[in-house]
């Protein structure tokens, strides 16, 4: 039973990672990032339930991750907003001023 959860988490994580690495839209990247966070959350809850059900450490940790993810999304969206203002767009490929 546990393997199914872990598989779900892995698939979700991979989908998120693929999104992060391939999306050109900054907002899409942030959304994919949320997927990865949630994959991690699923993992945490799964291990809590199947490895140490007597404590709630994993679930509490998941709640923290949700909070941190929300804060991170705020920061990310603020950066995206600034990007939009400066470049009139949010295409990540076009924003390469960190190049050599």
């Amino acid at each position: 039973m546990m393997m199914a959860y872990l598989a779900l988490a892995a698939i979700l994580f991979s989908i998120g990672m693929f999104g992060v690495l391939t999306r050109r839209n900054a907002v899409g990247i942030l959304m994919s990032l949320e997927l990865m966070f949630n994959a991690v959350n699923i993992n945490l809850v799964t291990f809590n339930k199947f490895v140490a059900p007597e404590v709630l450490t994993g679930q509490i940790f998941a709640v923290f991750v949700v909070v941190v993810a929300a804060a991170e999304a705020v920061v990310g969206l603020a950066i995206v907003l600034l990007l939009y203002r400066n470049w009139q767009g949010i295409d990540i490929d076009k924003i390469n001023i960190m190049k050599w």
Binding site: V20, T22, Q88, N96, I97, M98, K99
Partner: protein
């Protein structure tokens, strides 16, 4: 007077300094300063002479220490004895006459002040030489008179012959001075002192080995040979006649050339301690005298005749002193010492007069060649009369001063028959060549009407000194009349005082010889009873040899000067090619070596530095592609790395395949993306 006698040399020295430093621009003031200084010196010297007579010739020595060392004591001091006193008067008197005469003679010369400053310097040097009380001081002043002689011979240095003559005089003198210095050092080494009296005392004690003493005496005499123009170093004196005539009179007739004779007289104790050395001196003296007299017979330059005459007379004195030394060493007592010094004094007066008279003639006719003169007696009365007086004096005619001193010299040859015959022969030749000069110059028909026409008597500043010297040429000898009590011979003597008995026979012989010489000259050059040309043709080879001065200058030229020059040229070649070559080669080598080092610098050191730079440049060309600026690429790297770590943990071998694959994909995709990437237009940023 005696106590302040050390001041005498300082008067002219002061004049020299004042002229050189202050009054050089004003000829008149310079002239008067110089003459005033020497006149004060003359008065002081006369005072010293009188004081010396008054104290019956007791010597006086004043000493100031100069260098005090256990092995050698050098001092500055004054030694006043009758010989010094007489020499002081002679030097200052002749110098006074010559300086007054020079007012007229040097009139119009561009360097009159300098001339008088040199004369003052010379007078200082000569007086210093005379009063010196040790060999160290006499050597210093000896060199100083040599220097002033050089300066004055080359006074008209625009003339090459004059500057050459100056050099010749200086260098020839240096040859003799070298011997002089060695002699002094020998004496100083063996006696431990250079003071005359202390050295003489050591010699009389027998503290110096006789062999050393002979060598030292001959070495000392070398100095006299140079300075007094004795054979074989006489060659400079005739050439020295290139100098102004007053200089010839003062330096090269009356005083400086007498320094050698004076030194021999002063150091007689050294010379007379060795019969061999004294014999050398006497022989050199007679050779010089004979040679110079024979050359003087045929010379045509009025000053050269006088120069050879000077040479001859100096040889006479040297011979007398040398013979005295020989006799003294054999415990006889001859009149040689007194004769030499006496003749030194009388000769100074009449030879200075002869030169000044010759100068007067040259001043009038502007030539030195006696064959262009003649008949001047009508135009130059004072010069003619004084010149004849001097000639009679040098020829030794009673009762002029030369008669008394020359007699004593001939008397000194008693006991040396060869010397006596030669001395009489020289006396004969002296009379002959002097009157040849007189007759050719002053009597007969003028041979060059043009020059005769312009001739005139010299100004008073020139004739008065002639008269003063003529007076002394007559009377100076009277102090030595042998019948006088307390005459010259009782005043200036060496060792113990000895009575000398005058010899009427010698007086008679010398007078006959002199008169016959004059008569022969009269016949040949005045009456023309004997043709001079016929005589010359008769003795043509002899005449040629004499006219060319025995070819001694030529012999020196080929034996000494040419080899020296060749040697010098060889050394020059060595210098220019070997020494310079070595230096240049070293320089060349250094340049080449530095070129090599430059190569090392450029290619190795710079290469290393640049190579490091280039290496990083190349590396940066590669690694810059990692800095794509695309955040997603960075994320991909992070992910790939994380995956790599996991794979490494699971299967280390598989990790390498993974790594290789990742890198290949990464580079390929990077290059592909690079080519189609669009640059961001940064200008839009500033617009926003």
């Amino acid at each position: 007077m005696l106590e302040t006698s050390y001041l005498i040399p300082f008067y002219p020295l002061l004049a020299f300094a004042v002229i050189i430093f202050f009054t050089r621009w004003n000829e008149k003031v310079s002239t008067y300063i110089s003459i005033a200084a020497v006149l004060i010196g003359l008065l002081h010297s006369i005072g010293v002479l009188i004081a010396m007579i008054a104290r019956h010739g007791t010597p006086l020595e004043m000493i100031a220490p100069f260098v005090v060392h256990p092995q050698l004591k050098l001092e500055v001091g004054v030694w006043i004895d009758p010989l010094t006193a007489v020499m002081l008067v002679v030097v200052t008197f002749v110098s006074s006459c010559v300086q007054i005469y020079s007012i007229g003679y040097m009139h119009g010369d561009p360097r009159v002040s300098r001339f008088f400053s040199y004369l003052s310097l010379f007078t200082f040097s000569m007086l210093g030489l005379v009063v010196a009380n040790n060999f160290f001081m006499i050597f210093i002043f000896w060199e100083l008179v040599g220097l002033t002689s050089y300066l004055l011979i080359g006074f008209w240095f625009e003339k090459k012959s004059a500057s050459d003559a100056g050099k010749k005089a200086f260098i020839t003198n240096r040859v003799g001075d070298f011997g002089f210095l060695i002699g002094i050092m020998l004496l100083a080494f063996y006696a431990g002192t250079v003071n005359y009296q202390e050295v003489f005392a050591k010699i009389n004690e027998g503290a110096i080995p006789s062999g050393i003493l002979s060598v030292a005496a001959v070495c000392l005499f070398c100095g006299a040979v140079g300075k007094s123009a004795q054979f074989p170093l006489h060659v400079w004196l005739p050439d020295a006649m290139e100098g102004p005539t007053p200089v010839s009179a003062l330096i090269h007739a009356a005083t400086m050339v007498a320094a050698g004779v004076y030194m021999v007289a002063r150091g007689m104790t050294v010379f007379s301690a060795s019969a061999e050395a004294s014999m050398v001196i006497a022989i050199i003296g007679i050779i010089t005298s004979l040679m110079a007299a024979t050359i003087a017979l045929v010379q045509n330059d009025i000053k050269r005749v006088l120069a050879y005459s000077t040479c001859s007379q100096l040889g006479y004195m040297v011979m007398a002193l040398g013979l005295y030394g020989v006799d003294y060493a054999h415990h006889h007592h001859s009149v040689g010492y007194y004769a030499g010094t006496f003749h030194l004094m009388t000769h100074a007066f009449f030879k200075a007069l002869l030169f000044l008279g010759a100068g007067s003639v040259i001043h009038a006719v502007h030539t030195n060649d006696i064959w262009e003169m003649g008949g001047l007696k009508g135009k130059m009365r004072v010069t003619t009369v004084t010149f004849f007086i001097a000639s009679l004096s040098i020829a030794g005619i009673f009762p002029l001063s030369g008669f008394w001193s020359k007699d004593e010299i001939i008397a000194a040859t008693v006991g040396h028959p060869v010397f006596m015959v030669l001395a009489l022969l020289i006396a004969f030749m002296t009379a002959f060549y002097m009157f040849r000069l007189c007759f050719l110059t002053f009597t007969g028909e003028p041979r060059n009407q043009d020059k005769y026409h312009h001739a005139h008597e010299s100004p008073k500043t020139m004739t008065y000194p002639l008269i003063a010297l003529a007076f002394l040429s007559i009377t100076a000898g009277w102090v030595g009349i042998p019948w006088f009590e307390n005459g010259f011979s009782h005043f200036v003597y060496h060792g113990e005082l000895h009575e000398h008995h005058p010899s009427l026979l010698i007086m008679f012989a010398s007078t006959v010889v002199a008169l016959s010489g004059i008569y022969l000259a009269y016949l040949v050059y005045h009456k023309k009873a004997i043709s001079a040309d016929a005589l010359r043709m008769r003795f043509l080879p002899l005449h040629t040899v004499l006219y060319n001065k025995y070819y001694i200058d030529e012999i020196y030229e080929y034996l000494i000067i040419q080899p020296t020059m060749a040697f010098a040229r060889g050394l020059w070649w060595f210098d220019a090619h070997i020494i310079d070559g070595l230096v240049n080669f070293t320089g060349w080598l250094t340049v080449k070596w530095s070129d090599l080092k430059q190569l090392f610098d450029v290619y190795i050191v710079d290469g290393a530095v640049n190579g490091v730079g280039r290496l990083f440049m190349v590396l940066s060309w590669i690694f810059r592609y990692f800095q794509t600026g695309r955040v997603q690429f960075y994320a991909l790297v992070v992910v790939a790395s994380a995956v790599g770590v996991v794979i490494f943990k699971v299967t280390p071998e598989g990790f390498y395949y993974y790594l290789g694959g990742v890198l290949v994909i990464a580079f390929v995709s990077l290059f592909l993306r690079q080519n189609r990437s669009e640059e961001v237009d940064l200008t839009r940023q500033s617009e926003g």
